[in-house]
Amino acid sequence: MYRDFLVSWTGFVISRPRQVLVAISCITLAALYIAITQFSINSDTSRLIRQDTHWKQVYDRFIEVFPQYLNNTYVVVSGKSLSAVSNVSRALEAQLEKKTDSFQLVHGPANSKFMDDHGFLFLPVDDLDSLVSNLADAQPFLTSIARDPNLRGLFKLLTVSLSEPENLPGSMSRITNLLSDAIDSTLDGRSLPVVWRDEILNRDNDDTLYNIIFIQGRQNFGESLPNKKIVETIRSVIDDLEHAQKSLVDIRLTGQIPLDHGEIVSAMDSAGLAGSIAAVLLVLVLIFGVRSLRVILATYLTMIIGLIWTAAYAILTVGQYNTISIVFLVMFIGLGVDFAIHLGLRYQEAVGSQSKKDALLNTSLGVGPAISLCGVTSAFGFLAFVPTEYLGLAELGIISGGGMIIAVAVSLTVIPAFFAIVDEPVCLPRPDYLSVLSDVLYRYRKAVVAVTFAAAGLITYIARDAYFDYGTLSLKDQNSEAMMTFRELQREDIITDYAISYIAMDMDAAEAAKKKLLQLNSVSEVIIPQDYVPTDQEEKLNILEDAQIILASAFYAEINPAPYGDSERDEFIQRLLRASETYIRSPVADPALRQAVQRLHLSLGQLAISDTHIKQAFETNVIAPALEELAWLENAVSVGQVELGDLPEKFRQRLISEDGEVVVTISPSEDIVAVTALRRFTREVQSVIKDATGRPVVDLGIGEIVVTAFQQATAIAVTSIMIVLLLVLRSFVDTILVFIPLAMTAMMTFATSVMIDLPLNMANVVVVPLIFGLGVDNGIHIVQRFHESPDIRDLFKSSTPRAVFLSTLTTLGTFGALSFSGHQGIYSIGVLLTFALSSLMVLTLVSLPALLSLFSTTRAVVR
C-alpha cells in the first residue's frame, strides 16, 4: 500500500516538478521567517526537568522566604592589595547601586560601614595578633604624622632613623619605597595618593583577597537572552568605573546569572561553530563519496530545506529551544542528508540503464520504503524521551522526531523534482574500496563473527565502570570566566556550593538541629546565623586593647603648632637628602634598605629641584591618606563586643526572615563530586531534616530523574524499534542480527565514556537511545539489500554499502563537529556519538554482513 502511495506521489512530483519546487520554496520562505523571528532559547537548567517533585517544592519555598538567593550575579573583585580590593569594590558598589532600573539588590557584605569598623574582629586570633605586631612596627611613622601632620614630622623621623641605623624600624625599606613611588607619581603627573593601609597592616603573605558584591537584577524574560541585559549592564558599569587602583585588581562575574547566560551563549556559539564545521565536512564527504555535482547539489538543497522546515516546526510545536535541543539543528545537517544520499545514489545507479522517469520511479520504490522505515525508527529513538520527566530531552525528542519525518518527506519530494528538471548525473570514476572488503569479508566471515563476539565481551567488561555525573555545572563551558571564577571561589572556600541549606523555624530550632546534624558522619560543618558573629571576641578585644596602647602616642598625639613654610620644607628635604647619602655610604647599611634608600635619594633629589606646587602636591598625596587611615585605625581598634543584632541589616536578611525563620547551612565532610558520596550526604541530612535544599539535593533530584528518563527512553527505543523490525523484516533471526551491532555500539558508548573518562551526564544520555534510532537505519538497508543479493560479494557490488558508508560518514562528520563545542554538554554528546558511530559503521559494514551470511535464512524483503 505504501509502495502504491510512493509511486503515485513520485509520479505526481515528476509530472509537474517546477510547480512542486515553487510550492516548496514558498513554504520554505514562510518557515524561514518563523524560525528567525520567533527564535528563543531557555537556559534555566532547572526548567529542563519536570517541576512537581518534593525537592523542587522545598527549593521554591526556600526562595520564597529568602528571595535574595535567587538568580544572583557575583561581582568578584580580587587582588593582592587589601586597600585596592576594598576601595575598588566600594566604588563599584556605589556605581552599581545607581542602576536601580536594572538591579533590585546590590550588596557587598564586606563593604559596609560595619565591616569597616569591625573588620578586625572577623580575623582569626593569630592573624589579628600578627597584625598588631605590624602596627607596632608602623607606630613611629604613624605617630610622627599624627604629631606633625605634614612632611616635617615624617621626614624628621626618617632623617633621625637613617642617622641611627641600629634603631631602624622594620618597615623602613617599605616606607621609603612607598615615598619614592609617591614622589615619582607626583613628578610624572599621575599624582597617586599613597596607599598606607597595605603598609600599615603589612600583609606578609601573597594571598589573593576577594571581595564579592551580590547583585540581583530585574530579569527580562521577554528578550531572547533574558539575562543578557543584566550581565551587559554590570559589564558596562565595570568598564566605565574610573579608579586609581583599578589596575591592581581583577573584576570578574560569576553566579547563577552569568553561568546561565554563559551557557546559552556557549550553546549558541557551539551550535553555530559545529554547524559551520558540519556543513563544510558534509561537502567534503559528498565530494569524496558521490563525485557528482548534481547529486551533491540535490542533497545539499534537500538538507537546507529540511533544516529550515524543522527549525520552524520546532518553534511552532515546542515554542523554544533549550541548550540541548538546539543541538538537533546541527545533527540535522548530518541526519537529514542520509535519505537524500540513498535516493541520489540509487538514482545514479538506475539511470544508466533506464529512462529518467523509470529511474526516478524505481528509485522511490527501491529506497523509499527503507528510508521511510528509517525515518520512523529514528523518530522512535528521539521520541523515546518524550514520555519521561526530563523535559529538556523530551523537547529535543519532539523536535528531532518531527525533524526526521520532515527529512523523509522533503527527500522524497525534492530529489525527484530536482532530477526531473536537471540532466542525469554524470558519474566520475570512483575508487572501488568496498569490493576489496567484500572478498576478504567473504573468505573470513567466520573469523569476523568470532572477533565480533570477542569484542562484544571485552567492551561489555569495560562498560561496567561507566557512571553518571550528577553535577549540573559539569555541562557548562569549564573555561568560561564565570565557571573558572566559580571554581576558584569554591577552591578558596569562599562560597560553598556543595552545602545543603534549610530553613529552621527559629534560632532555637536551628541550634538543636545543628547539634543533631553534627553527629552525622557525612557532615563537617553546620552554620547558623549565630556563627556569623565573630568568635573569641574576648581575646580579640584584649588584643585590640594592646593595639590601642601601642598606638596611644599616635591617637593622643599633641599636635605641633609651629608654623611651617616653603623654606622650612626645602630645609628638611635637604636634611633627609644628606642623611640618606650618609646611609648609602655607611658600611653597616643593610643591602636591601641601601637599595631602597638609594632610590629615595634619587627621587628626593628630583623633588628638591622641582616647583613648590609639586612639593605641595606630594605632601598632600602622602599626608592626607595617612590621616584618613589613622582615623580609621583609631576607630577600628576601639570597637566593642558584637552581637547578631549588630550585623548589618542587608546581611542579616540573608540569614533571618521577617518571621524569624533562620537559614542553616550544612557542609559535607567529604568531596561529594562522586555520586555515592553525594547520595550518602544528602540522604543522611534528609534523615534529620526532611525539607532540605541546596545544590546537592537539586543535583541528586535532577540526576535521578535523568537516570530514570535515560532507562525509560532506552527501553522505549529498544522495544518500539524491535517491534517495527519484527513487523517489517518478518524474521526473528534478522531482527536479532540487526540488533547485535546496535547493542554493541551502546556498550561501546559506555566503554568509551570509561576509557576517555567522560562520564555520562544530563546531555549525553541522549546518545544511547539515539544509537538505536539512528543505527537501525543502516541495518535495515544492509538486510534489505542482502536479501536481494545472492551472497555478500554481490551485496558489496550494489550501491547500498556505499550509501550506508557515506550516510554514516556525513552523520559522523556533523556529530564530530559537535565535539568542537565549548559547551561541555554538547561537547560530550559530540565525542560519545563520534566514537559510537565509528564503531557502528565498522559493525554494520563488516560484522553485520558476516553475521547475515552465517545466520540469516529467510529471504525477507522490506515491503
Binding site: 586570633v125 593569630d126 595578633d129 600578627s130 598588631v132 605586631s133 602596627l135 607596632a136 612596627d137 607606630q139 613611629p140 605617630t143 610622627s144 599624627a146 604629631r147 614630622g153 623621623l157 633621625v160 634603631n167 624600624p169 622594620g170 581575646e539 584584649n542 588584643i543 594592646d546 596602647i549 601601642i550 598606638l551 596611644a552 602616642s553 599616635a554 593622643y556 598625639a557 599633641e558
Partner: protein, 198 residues
Amino acid sequence: MSRMSRTLASLFLVFNFYLPALAEPTTPVTEFHEGLINLMKSASYNDRIQLLTTIVANNFDTSTVARIALGRRWRNMEEGNKAAIVALMGEVIVSSYASRFPTYTQQYFEILSQKPIKPDRIIVRTRLHTDAEIVDLDYQLIELNGQWKIFDVAANGVSDLSLKRAAYATTFKSRGVAGVIEELRQTIRDNRDKANLP
C-alpha cells in the same frame, strides 16, 4: 619644682587622706627622672644598675611590658617562663637607660601635662632638655592596686613598647620562649658593652 606644682602637690597630699587609693600619676615619672639625673652623675655601670633597679622595680609595670611585647602567646606561657621574662624585661629597661647617658651635663626634665585615656590609663608628657637638644618623652602609665606604673616611654614619638613588640613578637613566633630569653640576655649584654663605663 615650681611653687605652683608644690602647691598642687600639697593639695593632693590633703586629698590623699580622703582618697587613699589614688596616687599621683606624675610621681613615678618624677621618681624615674630623679633616678636618671642621679644615674648621669654616676660613673660606674654597676652603681647605675643598682640605682635604677630599685626605681624601675617600684615605678614600672614590667609584666605589662612583657605581655604586650610578646603578644597573645604570653597568656599560655608557663608561669616560670613568664617570671623569667618579666625579670629580664626589667633588666633590659634598666640596662638600656644605664647605658644611654654617659655624663651629667646639666640635663633636666620638665613635666608638661597629663592626658587621661581611660580610668586606669594616662599619658604624662615630659621633656628632657640637654645642651644639644630637646627630647619629648611621653610616658604611658597604668593604675594597678592604687599605684600608677610606667609601661611605655615614647621618645620623640617613637614608642619603646612598640619597638619591643615589633622585635620580640617576631622572635617569639620563630624561636619560642628560649629565643626570647636569649635575645633579652643579648640585649642586656649589648647595653653593657655600649655603656663603655667601668
